[in-house]
């Protein structure tokens, strides 16, 4: 690995000041994603070689997890995935989140990996991660996945770039209607996660709205909704230490057994966590049964445009939507 400079930030403010000052500085939390990125030497016209690491784990209170009935859950972005998985407040009130944070990588990586890092981790496209491919995402002028090997790439919403969003946690946050608290030089702002992630059409270089000198300080989840149900499912090639081929977070609000409201979000299928309003439209006001679940699944994938090697993902995504609706509804 190339040498880097290390700066410890005592406060969020110090962190953004350092980022604003140095264009090649990057915030480091657990480092489980960032260090691999740097070691693999991933650089390009729009992807500088990060040589200054601003440590944010040194920020006091940055990992706090607080819950109240009125305000819901407040998660410091430095809380590790293990912290969240084992927090009673999370287990009792947000089983969907508790399940989602238990899925990434392996116990060892979840012990160091933070939720902020998970949300902001970079995609796993194997061309992006190979130093020799100067693709769109690094500032080049080609997408190697289109003509190359694309079994793990997007089946929906790809354009220019066909990455899939890698996070298991992000779909759960969208399904729970969570918000991101962002701090930047101009101050603080709160943005719903439904507006946090951006696809290649908006900006092919980044995967979310964070600017270079902004940080994600907190994740806010509204109070649990009575009579809501949920399900989290993930399909991988291997039992552990593997990104999703497809994952899904489903949240339903039932009224007398019928769906009053729902949020169905998949990762592994599109460049951003993909909320399937098409599937939600099918189930609205209806009672979920096998036939309806199947109809929703088919509807959700109508716009799928698989690439040369990834048509199997369409099948898996449909299966997961159907199963997750049935599981959440207890049907």
């Amino acid at each position: 690995m190339r040498p880097v400079k290390y700066l410890a930030a005592p406060t969020w403010r110090d962190a953004i000041n350092a980022l604003a000052k140095y264009p090649t500085a990057k915030a480091i939390a657990g480092g489980s994603d960032l260090l691999g990125w740097i070691k693999d030497d991933i650089t390009g016209a729009k992807e500088p070689q990060w040589d200054i690491l601003v440590d944010i784990r040194t920020i006091k209170e940055g990992a706090a997890i607080r819950f109240s009935r009125n305000e819901g859950l407040r998660i410091g972005s430095l809380a590790t995935l293990t912290d969240l998985e084992s927090a009673k407040e999370v287990q009792e009130n947000y089983p969907l989140l508790a399940s989602a944070v238990g899925h990434p990588a392996s116990p060892g990586i979840r012990n160091v990996g933070t939720i902020g890092g998970n949300i902001n981790q970079r995609p796993r496209c194997w061309y992006l991660r190979g130093a020799e491919f100067d693709c769109y995402k690094k500032g080049g002028d080609f997408c190697f996945a289109v003509t190359g090997k694309n079994e793990y790439h997007a089946i929906l919403e790809g354009e220019l770039c066909y990455i899939v969003h890698p996070s298991d946690v992000a779909p759960a946050l969208l399904a729970l209607d969570a918000k991101a608290k962002i701090l930047g030089p101009k101050g603080e702002k709160t943005v719903p996660f439904s507006e946090y992630f951006v696809g290649p059409r908006v900006d092919v270089i980044r995967e979310n709205i964070l600017q270079h000198d902004e940080v994600l300080t907190e994740i806010q989840i509204p109070p649990p909704v009575p009579s809501s149900k949920s399900s989290f499912l993930k399909v991988t090639n291997r039992g552990v230490y593997d990104f999703a081929i497809v994952n899904i977070a489903t949240w339903l609000k039932l009224n007398n057994g019928s769906v009053e409201d729902s949020r169905i979000v998949l990762s592994g299928v599109a460049p951003t966590p993909h909320r399937s309003t098409a599937a939600e439209g099918v189930i609205k006001g209806k009672r979920i049964d096998e036939a309806l679940a199947k109809q929703a699944a088919d509807q959700a994938l109508v716009r799928a445009r698989p690439m040369s090697d990834n048509a199997y993902k369409v099948e898996i995504a449909k299966t997961l939507i159907r199963r997750s609706l049935l599981e959440a509804a207890g049907a």
Binding site: Y127, G130, E132, R238, G239
Partner: protein, 765 residues
């Protein structure tokens, strides 16, 4: 009559195990030497290209850089035709595979060397790359390398212990076919006409990596006398010495290879890939040079295992008797010849009695890193083809697949494809024993539920076993302890088993025996630790050396006690007269006598040396029970078993460990492991995240059952090779189980979700 043993046949924990599992063992990367420098290689980003310009001047000028080396700096005696991988240390004008080293930077720190790599300027002219195995067979395919002259076929010959009807490649041979052979007997075409059922299929097995924990690594020093000292992660210190002496152009006496523990090799570390580059640079700099591959470099540029394409055609009568087998096996060797074509093609037709047989074998080269051995090289690919075919045949015949196998299994005297007859083997015994395993008894245990389908499959596997001459010494120390020295690298617990053999022979507790692998300037010679041969070959030498030492002690004792040697026995650390235990001399006393100042008694030094012992093929049957989700293609392995004929289990604990490890690896080949190259020949998964080795969560409990059909003279107590057979059949068993579960068959390894969904007809197109 059952013999009782004191030390062998007992479960003996590995003597060096505690240090390994507690992190105390020292590996090559842990070593630091005075004045040591670090080498890093610049690796080619193309699968096939000409080097038009190579400018290292900026890298040379970079602070901290000690030297930058290109092909022009290599020893002049080496052939420059790129014919042999070991001699092609750095690419010379032509790049033949992605990841091929083009230049090397040496610096005070590894990170500085890495930085300076960026300063090397290379201009490549890309050439068409040949990647697909079937494309490589074509007459009009572009050549994998410009100069095909002088390709070294010696490695292929090394895999080929037996002569084949070898039609050397001729002018009409397509440019990338480096070897073709045919074995035949009887009249296959007639047998196909007369058969009741004929099954014809084709199979593919992907490139896989051995997946050892420790990447390729080496440290080489060269002093002012031109003497080399080497520490490297290798399976053979002596073969490393031989390889380095050739590359360096010096006598073997000038190269001393020290034994360092190795973190796994599985065949990849037969050739000293980690030591050649630092040796050449050390010769120029006269400083110790350290060269450690990163994980990604190891996945890209080591020597993984070949892909294969195999067509089979099997004929049977209604009663299940096989009447003919015809096959065509193509192995992809990567950019240098040397694939396990012969071993694979031979085992392809070796498990069953085939009165009529025809096997054509072809080796092709492609623009990929060259292949190396992986545990029973060539065999998992071949076994997948034949054992899938046999399963399909059972279905067509409406016969039980196990009974079909028992009916046709080879026994002593039956012919292998290469025309050689089997000696005493235990395949039928293994198949019978399979029915007594708890795997077999519980095979119907878990019914399908939640839409998931449960299935059971099994497959036969085997390995013929390699061999080579070896030697060992056994010496009595002053305090009555015993030192054993061998030249074999202990990669699987062999030194523990040697201690058991010596303990048994001398009647001395194992705590008083120390086995060491010496460096190549001191140790008695042994071949590379590979081919499942170390225990059975070196073990025989150790056994003889112990006997020789015992004979010497008996002679001294018989003179002292005035009795005949025949009347003596060695028990509990003393040599005594049979029937009169009070007439005894202890090992301590003998130790003092044979080392004391002024003592007339000679030193007790036993010597054992043997040539290659008799062949001892080891057979297995492996079973897998799986649960398949037919809607996602996910496979969950519920149970696995391996029954194996081991001849004689000197240490059942390590034998079972070898079998379980082999099974784990074989299941990885079955469902998850695959190196993926893109259309340009660039490896897309050079990480252990994307190259999926199974984890503990992916594997079930693995049952082992040992069958012992000892073969006199094949190894100590009739022991056979153990390490390789258990990787042969797991992938085939898993695919057969998937087919049993969902009624659809995968013809390409590994059986990923995607391939299973495709087999089920769930994918468009």
């Amino acid at each position: 009559m059952t013999t009782t043993y004191r030390s062998v046949h007992q479960r003996q924990p590995r003597l060096e195990g505690a240090a390994k599992v507690t992190g105390g063992t020292v590996y090559t990367a842990d070593l630091r030497l005075h004045r040591m420098v670090h080498a890093k290689a610049l690796r080619a980003p193309y699968a096939h290209a000409l080097i038009k310009r190579l400018d290292v001047s900026k890298a040379r000028a970079y602070p901290g850089v000690v030297g930058v080396f290109t092909a022009a700096d290599l020893p002049q005696h080496l052939p420059r035709d790129g014919a042999n991988r070991l001699h092609t240390v750095l690419a010379d004008k032509e790049v033949m595979y992605y990841g091929q080293p083009v230049a090397a930077v040496v610096a005070d720190e590894a990170s500085v060397a890495e930085e300076a790599l960026d300063l090397i300027e290379v201009e490549y002219q890309e050439l068409p790359a040949v990647l697909d195995i079937l494309d490589a067979l074509k007459q009009d395919a572009p050549p994998v390398r410009h100069s095909m002259a002088g390709i070294d076929r010696s490695e292929l010959a090394a895999h080929t212990t037996l002569a084949a009807a070898d039609e050397q490649t001729t002018e009409k041979t397509p440019p990338n076919v480096t070897h073709r052979m045919v074995w035949s007997r009887g009249d296959v075409e007639r047998a196909f006409k007369e058969a009741d059922v004929v099954v014809e299929r084709s199979f593919r097995a992907s490139w896989t990596h051995q997946g050892y924990i420790e990447p390729m690594s080496g440290i080489v020093d060269c002093d002012r006398n031109g003497d080399y000292t080497v520490w490297t992660s290798t399976q053979g210190d002596f073969t490393t010495r031989e390889g380095l002496a050739k590359v360096l152009g010096v006598p073997e006496t000038k190269v001393r290879v020290n034994f360092v523990e190795m973190g796994g090799g599985f065949g990849a570390k037969i050739q000293p890939f980690g030591a050649v580059l630092p040796a050449i640079i050390a010769r120029i700099l006269r400083r110790p040079v350290k060269y450690i591959f990163s994980r990604s470099e190891d996945l890209r540029s080591a020597d993984p295992s070949s892909q294969a394409y195999i067509e089979t055609k099997l004929a049977a009568k209604k009663d299940g008797a096989f009447t003919a087998f015809k096959a065509r096996a193509v192995y992809d060797s990567g950019s240098f010849p040397g694939s396990p074509l012969m071993a694979g093609a031979n085992l392809l037709g070796a498990y069953y009695k085939f009165p009529n047989l025809e096997i054509e074998g072809l080796e092709v080269i492609t623009n990929r890193v060259s292949q190396g051995a992986l545990r029973a090289p060539g065999t998992p690919q071949a076994t997948f083809a034949i054992e899938s075919t046999v399963d399909i045949m059972a279905k067509e015949l409406g016969m039980d697949p196990l009974e079909l196998r028992i009916k046709n299994a080879v026994t002593q005297g039956d012919l292998m494809p290469n025309g050689r007859a089997f000696s005493k083997i235990g395949l039928v015994e293994v198949l019978q024993r399979f029915k007594e395993t708890s795997f077999w008894k519980n095979r119907n245990g878990k019914p399908s539920a939640n839409g998931k389908k449960v299935g059971v499959g099994f497959a036969v596997g085997g390995w013929l076993g390699g061999g080579s001459p070896s030697s060992a010494s056994v010496e009595l120390n002053a305090d009555g302890t015993v030192s054993v020295m061998v030249g074999a690298n202990d990669v699987t617990g062999t030194n523990t088993s040697f201690a058991q053999i010596v303990s048994e022979a001398l009647g001395l507790p194992i705590e008083r025996i120390n086995v060491k692998t010496g460096d190549t300037s001191l140790a008695p010679y042994a071949g590379v630790s590979a081919g499942s041969k170390t225990l059975r070959t070196v073990g025989l030498s150790v056994q003889r050396a112990a006997q020789d030492a015992l004979d010497q002690m008996f002679k001294i004792v018989s003179e002292r006690l005035e009795c005949s040697s025949e009347d003596l026995e060695s028990v509990d650390g003393q040599i005594r007269v049979k029937g009169s235990p009070e007439k005894a001399i202890t090992f301590e006393l003998l130790g003092t006598m044979s080392t004391g100042f002024g003592s007339p008694t000679p030193v007790i030094l036993g010597r054992g040396n043997v040539g290659t012992p008799a062949a001892a093929p080891g057979f297995t049957i492996q079973g897998a029970k799986v649960e398949v989700d037919p809607e996602t293609g996910e496979v969950n392995i519920l149970d696995a078993v391996c029954v194996q004929d081991v001849g004689f289990a000197i240490n059942p604990l390590s034998v079972e460990g070898q079998i379980q490890g082999g099974v784990a690896q074989s299941l990885g080949l079955g469902f998850s492991e695959e190196m993926v190259w893109d259309d340009k020949g660039v490896l897309r998964n050079p990480t252990l995240l994307d190259y999926r080795i199974p984890t503990a969560l992916d594997l079930p409990r693995i049952e082992t059952a040992l069958v012992e059909v000892p073969v006199e003279g094949a190894g100590p107590y009739g022991a056979k090779g153990v390490g390789e057979p258990p990787i042969a059949a797991g992938a085939a068993a898993l695919v057969n189980a998937v087919s049993d579960a969902v009624g659809a068959r995968v013809y390409t390894l590994p059986a990923t979700s995607e391939r299973i969904l495709a087999a089920l007809g769930k994918l468009p197109g």
